[in-house]
């Protein structure tokens, strides 16, 4: 149900989005002239989810919505906006789901803590066992 609602919401949002990008997304598949800016834009595109696709970033999709978003991102970067500012703008508009780069929201803290906890626990376990074996031997 929530998925259906989201889909519907996207459907409604799409024309509004397209309006800002029309006439047809000039920078969808055209690189920016400044390589540094293009690199910034590409890096950002790889971390933005294509909302009408399944598990693809907008950099890896043929969907028209992804094209519009690529164009939008390139234009904004060309105007001098910072990638994180654009990401924030996208998240505000479409929700956390759009960003593949997990943010530092509290709900995602366990995700970032997991590697440290696992490595710590595993290391302690291995260290304890190896030391115990040594003691047992001596």
């Amino acid at each position: 149900m929530s998925r259906l609602l989201l889909f519907f919401a996207l459907f409604l949002a799409f024309p509004a989005f397209a309006q800002t990008a029309l006439p047809p997304a000039p920078y969808a598949d055209r690189q920016l002239d400044d390589p540094a800016m293009e690199a910034k834009a590409t890096a950002l595109m790889h971390t933005i989810r294509c909302l009408t696709c399944q598990s693809q970033s907008i950099a890896d999709s043929n969907a028209s919505m992804a094209s519009d978003m690529r164009s939008e991102i390139r234009e904004r970067i060309a105007r001098g906006e910072e990638p994180e500012h654009i990401r924030a703008w996208l998240i505000e508009r479409y929700g956390d789901w759009i960003s593949y780069q997990p943010t530092v929201e509290p709900i995602l803290w366990p995700l970032w803590a997991a590697p440290l906890l696992l490595l710590g626990a595993g290391g302690a376990l291995a260290y304890g066992r190896i030391r115990r074996r040594r003691n047992a031997k001596s």
Partner: protein, 648 residues
């Protein structure tokens, strides 16, 4: 008639699986001699029957029998032969039948060829295998019958997802499935050994070839799947951290850990409980993988055959088998002692770290894949994608590779840290040289992880050859070569990944015929875009001439295809392979002013990624042959020694 015969074969096989479980129990618990004699023929018959059912389903697809629901929903009479053939498992029911068929054929193979285990453990293993099979028979016959009829018959089929109409599909899923199911054999061995309290080096030597075989197929399947996604999706990426990719990666990680801990158990009789635990985890990951892919619970580019209602069935099976195994483990853990001891500076200790890192990576992939589901239950939709996995798993995987440099240089049981430093000096120096070369010579800024990746790859490539150092190469056993080649493959693959991520270049263009583009010292010219017709699709096909220093290297024909049944556009990219990388060419959409979108990538040494994967699998094959030959020779020697004693 064919469909009915297939269904009958399946029911009969399910009955035999029930008999197999009963006989195994009677033989192991009660010592019943009749049951002991019957269990092997029953197991083999069950394998033959499911093999027959799978063959009949393939025949139905080849004949395009539209009175069978599955064929009508997934095939089409106009489809090329190979895709009719592969279409038999390109859907939920067919793939579950394939799973069951492979599982009972593997059971038959265990019944026929396993000689290393003691008799009771062998029978208990067959019983465990029957118990797992029964659950999947229930799933197949009650919730996903592949032979259901359609009345009235359809006039023609609905076709197969065009993305799946690729030679890769014909071999990729079966390879992965056999790998998944092979891990069920390791699981059954572990349960069998727990039941008869025979967790020891003999058990490890017996289980190792089966784990190796499963692991080889998983390695090969993942490598092929990655290359398939690379050329078929047309965006130049080779690993997307997509849930379905993760589903195949997790059993592989567990199997890799299991393979190494089983080696420790077989050689040194250490890590007994840990090896059993890994066998359980490996099969749990196979089932979780199947659950994730088949239930459609996660959205994914690869989720072609999904049905949420079936997910719960697999989840229940997962609960029964894994829960049951863990309870058995808890009950028997006190009878499994720790095994032989070892020093912190020893090959065993390095293998413990290897296992630890592999398990941490496995846990992180699992958490990252399931996390969006957890937050969704709390009403928040988040995405966990490549940025998370690459940052978190990249460094841990790199640490694993460093352990791989050191591990094989160490002796079993106890070694000297000073000697290790001396042995590691040469590969260490090479890594340092590589580091200086990259930082000093590269014209562009290279990320930290790719730089370190290339340095470690250089060290690993050299260090992986160390086990052959100062040895008589003709008398070195085959499995040592296997290990060397597999570890060398890791270095090759790592170099490919690092190089691709550090040095790729990209050109996007709106091109008209005659336009030229420069990339990595090559010139790409768009000559023309013409219509083109295939057997069940039409396309626009570009002709691109690639030249270097004024000399033509080749002409590429990427296509933008359109499939009619069902209507879907796809891109058919072209990869021009050079010794030092690949030129990746994609024709996109037509623009309104008559120009065409072109995407061109130069990916230096990207082919090393899959070449390395192939080497890893090849190393596994050599190790498998070497191990099986060694075991056979040993058992022959034992038999003749016993005969000599009797004669004396």
């Amino acid at each position: 008639m064919i469909a009915e015969a297939g269904l009958a074969a399946l029911w009969l096989a399910a009955l035999l699986a029930g008999a197999q479980l009963l006989f195994a129990w009677a033989a192991v618990a009660k010592g019943n001699a009749d049951a002991l004699r019957l269990i092997r023929p029953v197991t083999v018959a069950q394998g033959v029957l499911t093999g027959l059912a799978m063959t009949l389903l393939i025949i139905l697809f080849l004949r395009s029998d539209m009175s069978v629901y599955l064929v009508a929903a997934n095939s089409h009479s106009m489809k090329p032969f190979i895709y009719k053939f592969a279409g038999a498992w390109g859907n939920h029911e067919g793939s579950m039948l394939l799973w069951v068929a492979v599982m009972s054929l593997a059971g038959a193979a265990v019944a026929l060829f396993e000689r290393g285990l003691d008799k009771r453990t062998h029978i208990a293993t067959l019983g465990a295998q029957a118990a797992i099979s029964l659950g999947f028979y229930a799933f197949l016959l009650l919730a996903s019958n592949p032979f259901a009829r359609l009345d009235p018959a359809a006039r023609d089929g609905q076709g197969l997802n065009p993305l799946l109409q690729d030679p890769g599909l014909a071999f990729h899923p079966p390879t992965l499935y056999i790998g998944y199911v092979g891990l069920s054999v390791a699981f059954s061995f572990a349960v069998g050994a727990l039941l008869t309290r025979q967790v020891n080096a003999r058990f490890a030597r017996a289980v190792r070839p089966w784990v190796l075989a499963a692991w080889i197929l998983l390695t090969f399947g993942i490598t092929a799947g990655s290359y398939w996604a690379y050329y078929e999706l047309g965006w130049g990426g080779w690993w997307f951290w997509d849930p379905v990719e993760n589903a195949s990666l997790m059993p592989w990680l567990a199997a890799t850990a299991l393979l190494h801990s089983a080696s420790v158990l077989a050689t040194r009789d250490a890590l007994r409980a840990w090896t059993i635990m890994l066998a359980v985890v490996a099969f749990a990951m196979s089932m979780i993988g199947t659950f994730l892919v088949r239930s459609g619970i996660l959205t994914s580019v690869h989720a072609f055959a999904v049905d949420p209602t079936r997910g719960s069935f697999i989840l229940i099976l997962l609960g029964i088998y894994i829960g049951g195994a863990l309870i058995l483990f808890a009950l028997r853990a006190h009878t499994v002692n720790e095994g032989a001891r070892f020093d912190p500076v020893s090959r065993e200790a390095m293998l413990v770290i290897n296992n630890l890192l592999l398990c941490v990576i496995l846990a992180l992939v699992l958490i990252g894949t399931l996390y969006p589901l957890l937050t969704e239950m709390m009403g928040v939709r988040v995405s966990v994608g490549p940025p998370y996995f690459n940052t978190i798993i990249g460094p841990i995987a790199l640490a694993l590779m460093v352990v791989l440099v050191i591990g094989p240089m160490l002796r079993w049981r106890k070694d000297d840290a000073k000697l290790l430093l001396r042995r590691a000096a040469v590969p260490g120096g090479l890594a340092l040289l590589a580091l200086i070369a990259i930082v000093g010579l590269s014209s562009r800024a290279v990320g930290l992880l790719p730089t370190l990746g290339l340095a470690v790859a250089a060290a690993l490539a050299l260090a992986s050859l160390a086990p052959l150092w100062k040895r008589n190469l003709l008398r070195t056993p085959l499995f040592t070569y296997g290990m060397v080649i597999a570890h060398f493959g890791c270095a090759v693959s790592l170099a490919g990944m690092a190089s691709e991520s550090a040095f790729s270049s990209e050109r996007l263009a709106a091109a008209k015929p005659g336009d030229t583009y420069e990339i990595a010292g090559m010139t790409v010219r768009l000559d023309s875009v013409m219509p083109f017709a295939g057997p069940n699709w039409t396309a626009m096909q570009a002709a691109l001439t690639v030249s270097k220093d004024g000399r033509v290297i080749g002409v590429a024909h990427p296509q933008a295809r359109f499939f009619s049944d069902p209507p879907t556009p796809t891109t058919e990219s072209v990869q021009m392979t050079r010794w030092n990388g690949q030129l990746y060419l994609v024709l996109g959409e037509a623009l309104e002013d008559g120009r065409w979108q072109l995407r061109i990538w130069w990916k230096p040494f990207v082919t090393f990624i899959w070449l390395g994967g192939g080497l890893i699998a090849l190393g596994g094959v050599l190790a498998l042959i070497g191990r099986v030959r060694r075991e056979r020779r040993n058992s022959k020697a034992q038999a003749s020694a016993a005969a000599a004693m009797v004669a004396a």
